[in-house]
């Protein structure tokens, strides 16, 4: 908490800690803890004089050599100074960093973004250091820079990812660069090729530059996986008459982009086994509803940050396309079917309340957090049994189909779908800025990163 205060310009944030689990404790226990500890801390916070200045965390080191040592000694130094994600790193020497800087048209000290909550001004130099550490190749720099630009947009809400839900970033690379760099879109894609190291680099950037350090402002209750990096099967998309995500968002086919959003989960993978698009869309809607939370959806019906990214394999996409569905048709069909009953809303909002406040949908209505217009009767999802009239009211999982973006990737031989979920982020897409002679310089790179599976 103190580190968050420093990042916001408050050098000595006074706070009082509660020693229990306030969302679960009885009123008697809360009284006991306040009497024994928290009240005294509140009084101290209000009355104890501020005596000395504190140095903001993450003070600049620039290009100064901060350590000399063998591979093991460098790794021990980075680990003990909390500069890593716990995995071994490649030593970031000046020479290696400068090699990365050759792959961006930006100057080394140019501002790419200011990341939060650390309020650090991030430059290509900083990005390159973390890219080297992660094991990236110099050619990955343009992707890393676009990814940092994306997470630096205020609308993305990077600082909120540190919330206790363990919200993770994930990235989608579209356009020619994905293929040129060997960013995978097939079987095992996030764990293969360039995907893994680019994701790891973004995790290190979040850690070292955005200041998301465990226990400080990186509060995921069970922690975080490495940020996944996806590419789409663009050849298949064009073949079935659909478009890749970046083209849907208004970018040119030949422009390469990085898109970022967030997720609280690595989803369960459905096995669609029907070929009628209508039933297939219902199955995806079932998965969307399961991936999210009625407790979150009830209070976020006007939030563009309630997003359910859906990943479907090429075979599933082809089935929809052959059934006459465009991608937009699919998003609308899924949105129409993905709903929560008010019974689900009330159960989770009371017994598993977000931020510990036990509520029902009536409390949200009363506070103006749930628009009455979204509650509809007679719209029970297909998978629910029929109930008596008056108990069949539902709300949609998200404000509209736009919050259900579709990505086509994964094993082309399998019938799979997977849904991510966030309530804190929108998608942000940035074009990738390439250095001169890019095509020539990466001509033979793809084959070095592809696995022959």
């Amino acid at each position: 908490m103190k580190r968050t205060g420093v990042a916001e310009g408050v050098p000595h944030l006074r706070h009082a800690e509660y020693p229990g689990t306030i969302s679960l404790d009885s009123v008697a226990t809360i009284n006991k803890y306040f009497k024994e500890k928290t009240l005294n801390l509140i009084i101290e916070a209000l009355t104890k004089p501020i005596e000395k200045e504190e140095v903001p965390a993450g003070a600049a080191k620039g290009r100064e050599i901060v350590f000399q040592g063998t591979l093991k000694e460098v790794n021990d130094f980075f680990f003990s100074n909390w500069f890593t994600d716990g995995l071994p790193i490649i030593p970031p020497t000046r020479e290696r960093v400068e090699e990365f800087l050759k792959y961006t048209p930006l100057s080394p000290d140019e501002e790419v973004a200011v990341l939060h909550p650390s309020s650090v001004r991030v430059t290509p130099w900083n990005i390159a250091v973390n890219g080297v550490m992660a094991g990236c190749r110099p050619e990955h720099m343009p992707v890393l820079i676009a990814a940092v630009e994306a997470i630096g947009e205020p609308i993305y809400n990077l600082e909120q990812l540190g919330s206790t839900g363990g919200w993770n970033m994930f990235f989608v690379v579209n356009g020619p660069v994905a293929k040129q760099l060997g960013i995978q879109n097939g079987i095992g894609l996030v764990s293969r090729g360039a995907n893994t190291v680019i994701g790891r680099a973004m995790g290190l950037i979040r850690h070292n530059l955005a200041g998301h350090r465990p226990g400080e402002v990186y509060m995921g209750t069970f922690g975080y996986i490495l940020p996944p990096v996806f590419a789409e099967n663009e050849e298949l998309l064009y073949e079935i008459g659909w478009k890749p995500y970046h083209v849907d968002e208004g970018f040119d086919i030949d422009t390469s982009t990085v898109s970022v959003c967030g997720t609280a989960n690595w989803g369960y993978q459905m096995y669609p086994t029907v070929s009628e698009p209508e039933h297939l869309a219902q199955l995806l809607a079932y998965d969307v509803a399961r991936a999210g939370s009625p407790n979150h959806s009830v209070g976020q019906q006007e939030s563009p940050r309630l997003v359910f990214p859906i990943f479907i394999t090429p075979g599933v996409a082809r089935t929809f396309a052959e059934g006459g569905y465009s991608k937009q048709d699919l998003k609308e069909a899924v949105w129409k079917n993905a709903r929560y009953t008010l019974a689900e809303v009330d159960f989770e909002s009371y017994y598993g309340a977000h931020e510990g406040q036990r509520q029902t949908h009536r409390d949200y209505l009363k506070r103006g957090k749930l628009p009455e217009r979204v509650i509809e009767k007679g719209k029970l999802p297909t998978w629910f049994p029929k109930v008596v009239e008056g108990e069949d009211a539902t709300i949609p999982v998200a404000p509209g189909p736009k919050q259900l973006p579709i990505f086509v990737c994964g094993d082309p031989t399998r019938n799979k779908s997977m849904t991510f979920y966030t309530m804190y982020n929108t998608f942000v897409t940035k074009p990738i800025k390439l250095p001169a002679n890019w095509d020539r310089r990466v001509k033979d790179l793809r084959c070095q990163w592809e696995c022959n599976i």
């Binding site: 420093v6 000399q68 063998t70 790794n75 980075f78 680990f79 970031p92 001004r121 550490m133 909120q160």
Partner: protein
């Protein structure tokens, strides 16, 4: 930590992975000499049972400081900013300032998170 197998005798000179914060530190208001006779506001973010804990804080503070004046969280706007758009977040926080001044607060207790 288990480090990778060391490259024999090769020594690396490495740079820092950290960057430069751009935020300017503000000058904080001096703390109060006592809470006796002071006006303290309560601003709630809508989470973690503040509607139950603020009354407990009020009761205990009044017992310890009989002349303290406490302004309940119900007299201020509810400030739930975590998932707001940055501009809306800024406006919400700016709207608090006149409320605090109008009520003559010497200090406020706010936050309530984890």
């Amino acid at each position: 930590m288990v480090a990778p197998v060391s490259a024999k005798d090769e020594v690396y000179e490495v740079v820092s992975p950290l960057g430069e914060p751009v935020v300017k530190m503000m000058t904080m208001a001096p703390r109060l000499d006592t809470l006796e006779g002071k006006t303290i506001g309560e601003i709630w973010n809508g989470g973690f049972r503040g509607d139950e804990s603020f009354p407990i804080i009020e009761k205990m503070l009044r017992e310890r400081y009989p002349t303290i004046k406490l302004i309940s969280y119900t007299d201020f706007s509810l400030v739930t900013i975590a998932s707001l758009h940055p501009e809306k977040k800024k406006k919400t926080l700016e709207a608090l300032r006149p409320q605090i001044q109008e009520k003559g607060c010497d200090a406020v207790i706010t936050g309530n998170g984890c």
